[in-house]
Symmetry: C2
Subunit: 439 residues, 2 copies
C-alpha cells in the first residue's frame, strides 16, 4: 500500500489508507489510545481501540517512534473537529501499525506547541529540538527568504554565480579572517564575495550569489555569528547609488510579499503582522541621524565614531515614529568607516555607501564602488595597502568597468527580525560563534 501524507487524508473519508511519521503525542483515555502522528505535511489524529488489529503494538508506542499505520479515515463528529490542525475534520481509525524505528525517552519535550528553550539547550540538542513546531516554522520562513531572493533577482535580470570560499589572499585588507592550511600554504576563508562579484559584473552586468561567508570576529552578541548566509548582489551601469537602494527596496518588498503569501501558518503561530515595506524606504544621512538621536534621545555619537548598535536601535525607533516605517536607509557614511573600494561622494569626505536597518538592526550594507582603475589604485594606496596584492582584482578595472555597486545582506538577520526571535542564532540551523562549533 502506498503511503499518503497526513494532510491528504481529508480526501479519503471512509477509505483505507496508509500514513507514516513520528508519534508527536500519545494520550490514553481508558482503553482508547490516541496518537498524534506528525509528518512533513502536518498532524493527524489516529485512534486505536481494542478492536484494532495492532492494538498491542500501539500500547508500547512512545513519543518520536517512527511508525506506518493503516486504517480507515473517518469524519469526526462536528463538535469534535479540531480547528487547530489542517486534518482536524477527520481521524484515522488505526488497524495495523508497523514500528519503523524506536525512540528513547526524550530529554526535552518536542511536542509542545509553544516550547521556547534556553538557547544553549536548544542548540546543544539541535537534532531533537529542530523537530519542534516552533523550530520547523522558523526554517520554513528561512526557506521563503532564500527562495524569494533568488526568484526576484532572476526576475530583475541577475545571473546567479558561485565564487570560491577558499582564498589565496586576505581580500579587502581587513582583519578577521579565518586562516587555513592549504597543502602547506596559508589560505583564508572568504568574508564576502566582494571582489568576485565585482569581477563578474564585467561578464553579466548583474549578478547575485547566495552562499556562506565567514567572519573571525570575537563578538558574542544576539546579532552576530561567525558563519552566515550572505545574499549578495552587484549591478552594473547604475546612474547613482539610488539605483542600488531602489533595487534593494524592490527585492525586500518581494521577500515580504512572499512571506505573507506562503507563511500564513507561521504568522499565526508567531502572532505576527507582516511589516509593510514602504514604496520608498526613508533615507537619511548618517551625520543627520546622529544629530537627531543626539537631540531626540540624548544619545551622543561623535563624528569620528561609526554608529553603534544602540544608535541603530534608536535610528530604527525614529524611523518608526517619524515615518511609520520598520525600514530606514542610513547613507553617506564617511570614507574612514568604509572599505577602499567605496565610491567617495563629491565632497571628498562622505561615501556613496549605505546601510539598511530593519527594526533597528542592520540587515544589509552596500555602496557604489569605484570603477576607474586609477582611482581604485589611489584609494588602495591611501588605505595603506599594496596594489600588487590586488592584482587579479585590478585586472578587471584595467579593461573597462561600468559604474556599479551592490550589497551584502544577512539572511538569518532578516528571519530573526521578521519573527521577533530572541537571538539571530535561532534563525540558523547549526550556528557558529566564538564558543560553539558543535553540533
Amino acid at each position: 500500500m502506498e503511503r499518503i501524507l497526513n494532510k491528504e487524508t481529508v480526501k479519503y473519508v471512509n477509505k483505507k489508507v496508509m500514513v507514516s511519521g513520528w508519534v508527536n503525542v500519545r494520550r490514553d483515555h481508558g482503553k482508547i489510545i490516541f496518537l498524534d502522528l506528525r509528518d512533513r505535511s502536518g498532524i493527524l489524529q489516529v485512534v486505536f481501540t481494542e478492536e484494532s488489529k495492532d492494538y498491542k503494538k500501539a500500547e508500547i508506542i512512545k513519543p518520536e517512534y517512527v511508525v506506518s499505520i493503516t486504517g480507515k479515515v473517518a469524519k469526526r463528529p462536528l463538535k469534535m473537529v479540531n480547528k487547530n490542525i489542517e486534518t482536524g475534520k477527520v481521524e484515522l481509525q488505526g488497524q495495523t501499525l508497523e514500528i519503523l524505528s524506536e525512540a528513547e525517552t526524550l530529554p526535552i519535550e518536542v511536542n509542545d506547541k509553544n516550547i521556547e528553550l534556553q538557547l544553549d539547550t536548544l542548540l546543544d540538542n539541535r537534532p531533537l529540538t529542530i523537530r519542534t513546531e516552533r523550530n520547523r516554522k522558523i526554517f520554513k520562513v528561512f526557506e521563503t527568504v532564500l527562495k524569494a531572493y533568488a526568484e526576484k533577482m532572476r526576475d530583475l535580470g541577475f545571473t546567479e554565480i558561485k565564487t570560491p570560499k577558499i582564498l589565496g589572499a586576505a581580500t579587502e585588507g581587513g582583519a578577521n579572517f579565518f586562516t587555513l592550511d592549504y597543502f602547506g600554504r596559508k589560505a583564508f576563508l572568504a568574508q564576502s564575495p566582494q571582489f568576485y562579484k565585482q569581477i563578474m559584473v564585467g561578464a553579466f552586468e548583474r549578478v547575485f550569489e547566495i552562499d556562506p561567508v565567514f567572519r573571525a570576529e570575537k563578538h558574542f552578541t544576539t546579532r552576530h555569528m561567525n558563519e552566515y548566509i550572505s545574499l549578495d548582489a552587484e549591478i552594473g551601469f547604475i546612474k547613482s547609488f539610488e539605483d542600488i537602494t531602489n533595487t534593494l527596496t524592490e527585492v525586500i518588498r518581494y521577500i515580504f510579499d512572499e512571506f505573507k503569501k506562503r507563511n500564513a501558518e507561521e504568522m499565526k503561530f508567531f502572532k505576527l503582522d507582516v511589516p509593510k515595506v514602504p514604496k520608498r524606504i526613508p533615507m537619511i544621512k548618517l551625520k543627520d541621524v546622529k544629530k537627531i538621536i543626539g537631540e531626540k534621545y540624548n544619545y551622543k555619537i561623535s563624528d569620528d565614531t561609526d554608529i553603534d548598535p544602540q544608535g541603530e536601535r534608536l535610528a530604527g525607533e525614529y524611523a518608526k515614529e517619524k515615518y511609520n516605517s520598520d525600514f530606514i536607509f542610513l547613507t553617506h557614511y564617511p570614507k574612514n568607516f568604509r572599505p577602499f573600494y567605496t565610491m567617495p561622494s563629491k565632497d571628498g569626505v562622505e561615501t556613496e555607501g549605505f546601510d539598511l536597518l530593519f527594526k533597528g538592526l542592520e540587515i544589509a550594507t552596500g555602496s557604489q564602488r569605484i570603477h576607474q582603475y586609477k582611482d581604485l589604485v589611489e584609494s588602495i594606496k591611501r588605505h595603506k595597502l599594496n596594489p600588487e596584492d590586488f592584482s587579479f582584482y585590478l585586472q578587471t578595472f584595467k579593461y573597462g568597468m561600468p559604474p556599479h555597486g551592490g550589497w551584502g545582506m544577512g539572511l538569518e538577520r532578516i528571519v530573526y527580525k521578521i519573527l521577533n526571535l530572541s537571538n539571530v542564532k535561532e534563525a540558523c540551523l547549526f550556528p557558529r560563534d566564538v564558543r560553539r562549533i558543535i553540533p
Copy 2:
C-alpha cells in the same frame, strides 16, 4: 535618456535610443567606424560616420571600452542582415558617445567567438577571459543547472536547508579535511553536509542543499577540484534504495529538459545534442560491470579494488553501446568501499549504495543509510571509529529515524560533461586545485 538593452533595439526602429555596454570589436571601413557593442542581452552593431556628432570620440575607442551611445535605430538592408546575432536586422546610427571607462590594450582577445585558451592562461586571466562568449555561455548553463535543481527539488516536496561549513570534528572519520584555526581551536571544512542533512530528515523528511564542499585531496586531474558545489538531497520514508535512484532520475531529467528549453543558443554554440535521459536509467551491479569490462574490453579490476576512472569510462562506453544511454547507475558497492553510514545489503557484503555515471564520469554518489541506532553504533565501531566522536549525529537516531537515503552530486561535473569541456575547471568560475588558490 533611459538606457535600453541591445536586444530591445529591434522594437525601436526609426526611434532614438540610448544603449550601453562594452566595445567587443571595432572595424573601420574608410571613414566609417563599426562598433560591436556587447551588453548582457547580446551584441548590437553601431555605425559612426563623419556626420555623427561624436565621430571624433569614436575614433579613439578600443576593445573593452565601456560606453553609452545614443542614436537612431535603422533597419539593415535585407542582404546585410546578420543572422548570427539577435539584433542582426537592425543597426544603431550612432550620434553621441560617452566613454564610461577606458581599457588598456588587451593581452588576450576576448571577442573571438570560438576562443579556447590554454587552461592556465584562461584561469590566470579569469577577470578578462570570463568576458568571452564561450565562457559566458558556460556559466549560463551552470546557472540553468543550479536553478533547475532547486526548482525540481521544491516541486518534489523537499525543503531547502543551509548547514555549516566550519565543523568542530572531522565527520565521516575520513582523511582529506582542510583544517583551520578557529579562535585557537582546530576546526575542519565540511567535505559534505552528510550528517546534517540526515539530521534534517528528522524535521522535514525531504531536504536539499546547494553549497560548497571542500576536499583536501591531492589529485591533479581533469575531473577534480578542491572546492566545488554539491547538490545534496536526503529523503525519508523510502522503501528501498530505488526510491532514491528513481527520484534522482526524475531530477536529472528535469535538469536536461530545462537545459534544452533555456540554452538553445549555448547548444548551437557548442554544437551539442542534448543527451536524452531514459525513462529508466540502466542499473548494474558493480561486480557485474567489472566482469563485463574485463571480458569485453580486457580491463581487469580485482574484487578488492574500487572501480577506477578508466573503469568508469568503459562502463560508460558499455552503457552507450548496450543501452544507447549516456547514463548508468552502478550499484551495490561492497561495504569496504563505502562509509560507515551506508546501509548494508542482505548478503552482508554489498551495500545499498550507488554511483551515477554520465558519459563515463561519476556525477553523483548515493545510498540508503543505516537508520537504526544500534546498527549505526555497531557500524561505527566496525570501522574502528569511536561512537563518542559522533554523539550529536547519533542523537538523531536515538529518537526515531525513518528509513532514508540520498545523494551528493557535483554541479560542475554536470556542466563539464553536458558541454564536452576539456576540464571540469572550465565549469568553475575560480577553481581551486592543489596548485591554484588565485584568483
